[in-house]
C-alpha cells in the first residue's frame, strides 16, 4: 500500500520506471477485465492501453484513501461499458460478439479444442448479458472481488451487487434454456463444465 503510494508520487513527478511499475502491477487484472467484457484479445489490448493512458492522465486526481486497484479497475470498467455502448449504437447484436481468436497450439490438440470451445461458450454467455450484469460477473469470477469491493467500485450498494449477480445468473440460465429449445446442447455444456473443474 505504502509502496503503491510511493510509485504514484514518483509517477506524478514524471518517473517513467514508476509508472511502468504501476502498469506491470495492474496489466493482468485490467487486461482480463477488458477481455471478458469485450470478448476479443485485440479489443482487450486496445482497452488496456487506453485504461493506462487515462490512469496516467488522471493520476493527479487519485485519492490515496481509495484502493489503487479499485480506482484502476473502475477506469477500465467505465471504458469497457462506454465501448460496448458505442458498439451497440452501430448495431452489433449482443449474441454476435467477436469470436475468440485461435488459441496457441497446446500439447494435446483435443485439449486445445476443448479449451477453445469452453472459451467460446464463456464469451457467448457473457455477451448474452447487458453490460452491467456482465461486469459484476467478471468482477466476481475474474477479479475475485467481494460484494463490498464491487459495491465500492461500482458506486452502488452491496444489496444491489447481490441482486445483480442473482439476476445475471438467472438470465444466463434463461439464455441456455432458450438455446436448448432450438438445439439441445446440454450434453456439450456438461462436458465443458466437467473439464473446467479438475
Amino acid at each position: 500500500m505504502i509502496e503503491e503510494r510511493v510509485l504514484v508520487q514518483r509517477a506524478l513527478a514524471g518517473d517513467r520506471e514508476a509508472f511502468a511499475g504501476l502498469v506491470r502491477a495492474y496489466q493482468g487484472p485490467v487486461y482480463n477485465l477488458a477481455y471478458r467484457m469485450l470478448g476479443s484479445p485485440a479489443e482487450a489490448e486496445e482497452a488496456a492501453q487506453e485504461t493506462f493512458v487515462r490512469v496516467y492522465q488522471r493520476l493527479a486526481t487519485y485519492d490515496p484513501q481509495q484502493k489503487l486497484s479499485s480506482w484502476v479497475l473502475a477506469i477500465a470498467s467505465h471504458y469497457c461499458i462506454d465501448r460496448l455502448r458505442r458498439r451497440r449504437l452501430v448495431s452489433l447484436p449482443l449474441d454476435e460478439a467477436p469470436a475468440q481468436e485461435a488459441a496457441e497450439p497446446a500439447e494435446a490438440p483435443e485439449l486445445a479444442l476443448l479449451a477453445q470451445e469452453r472459451e467460446r461458450e464463456i464469451q457467448t454467455l457473457l455477451a448474452s448479458l447487458p453490460e452491467a450484469y456482465r461486469l459484476v460477473l467478471v468482477l466476481r469470477y475474474w477479479q475475485d472481488l467481494s460484494y463490498e469491493e464491487m459495491a465500492r467500485l461500482l458506486g452502488t450498494s452491496e444489496s444491489a451487487v447481490k441482486a445483480r449477480l442473482h439476476r445475471a445468473r438467472e438470465m444466463m440460465a434463461q439464455h441456455l434454456a432458450k438455446r436448448q429449445e432450438v438445439r439441445p446442447v446440454r450434453g456439450l455444456e456438461r462436458r465443458v463444465a466437467r473439464h473446467a473443474v479438475p
Partner: protein, 196 residues
C-alpha cells in the same frame, strides 16, 4: 418458502455467503422442487465453467505501448478540454456574425496607405480569409432561412439547433469527463427492481 427466495440463496451459496441454516433449508427445498433443482444444476455448471477458465495473458509489450501513447497524447485537464470546446463554439458563432463585414474590412484595408511588406501580408491574409468568409456567409444565409419567423420550418430549425447544441455540449463537457457508468447506474437500479 418461494422458489424466488431459493434462487436468491442459490446465488449467495455460489458466492460463499449463505449461512448454514439457510443452506439446509435451501437443500430441503431442492429435494422437493424439480424446477429449482434443475436451475441449481445449471447455475453450478455455469459457476464451474467460469471458475475453471484460466486468466488471459496480457501482451508482453503493453508497458512500451502505453508509454508511447502517453507521449503521443500529452496530459490534458478537463478544464482545458472544456475551454477548447467553448473557444471553438465562440469562433464559429463569431465567424457567422462577422462574415457580412468581411468585404467592408477588405475595402478599409484597400483604402489605407499601408506601406511595403505589411501591405503584402494583409493582402495574403485577406485572400486566405475570403473563401472562409464566403462559406460562413452561405451558412449564415441558410440558417437565417431556416430560422425566419412565421415559416413552418422556423420551429423545427430552432429545435434542431437547440438539440444539437445541447447534445454537443453534453458530449464534450459532461460525458467526456464524468464517464458513463454513473448514468447507467440509475437505469440499472430500475432493472434490478424489475428483475426481482
Amino acid at each position: 418458502m418461494q422458489c424466488h427466495d431459493v434462487h436468491e440463496w442459490m446465488s449467495l451459496k455460489l458466492d460463499g455467503r449463505l449461512p448454514p441454516d439457510q443452506e439446509r433449508e435451501m437443500h430441503a427445498h431442492l429435494a422437493s422442487c424439480v424446477a429449482c433443482a434443475q436451475e441449481w444444476a445449471t447455475w453450478r455448471d455455469l459457476a464451474a465453467l467460469f471458475e475453471g477458465a484460466p486468466p488471459a495473458e496480457p501482451p508482453g509489450d503493453l508497458v512500451e505501448r502505453v508509454w508511447s501513447r502517453v507521449h503521443a497524447r500529452p496530459r490534458r485537464s478537463a478544464l482545458l478540454s472544456s475551454l477548447a470546446a467553448v473557444a471553438v463554439g465562440l469562433g464559429v458563432i463569431g465567424a457567422l456574425f462577422l462574415a457580412p463585414w468581411a468585404p467592408i474590412c477588405r475595402l478599409v484595408v484597400g483604402t489605407l496607405q499601408i506601406p511595403g511588406m505589411l501591405r503584402v501580408a494583409s493582402a495574403v491574409v485577406g485572400d486566405l480569409v475570403h473563401p472562409a468568409a464566403v462559406m460562413a456567409e452561405a451558412l449564415r444565409v441558410v440558417l437565417r432561412a431556416l430560422l425566419s419567423p412565421g415559416s413552418a420550418l422556423a420551429a423545427m430549425g430552432y429545435g434542431l439547433v437547440l438539440v444539437a447544441a445541447l447534445a454537443a455540449w453534453l458530449r464534450v463537457v459532461v460525458f467526456r469527463n464524468a464517464g458513463v457508468v454513473r448514468w447507467s447506474e440509475s437505469r440499472l437500479a430500475g432493472w434490478d427492481r424489475s428483475g426481482r
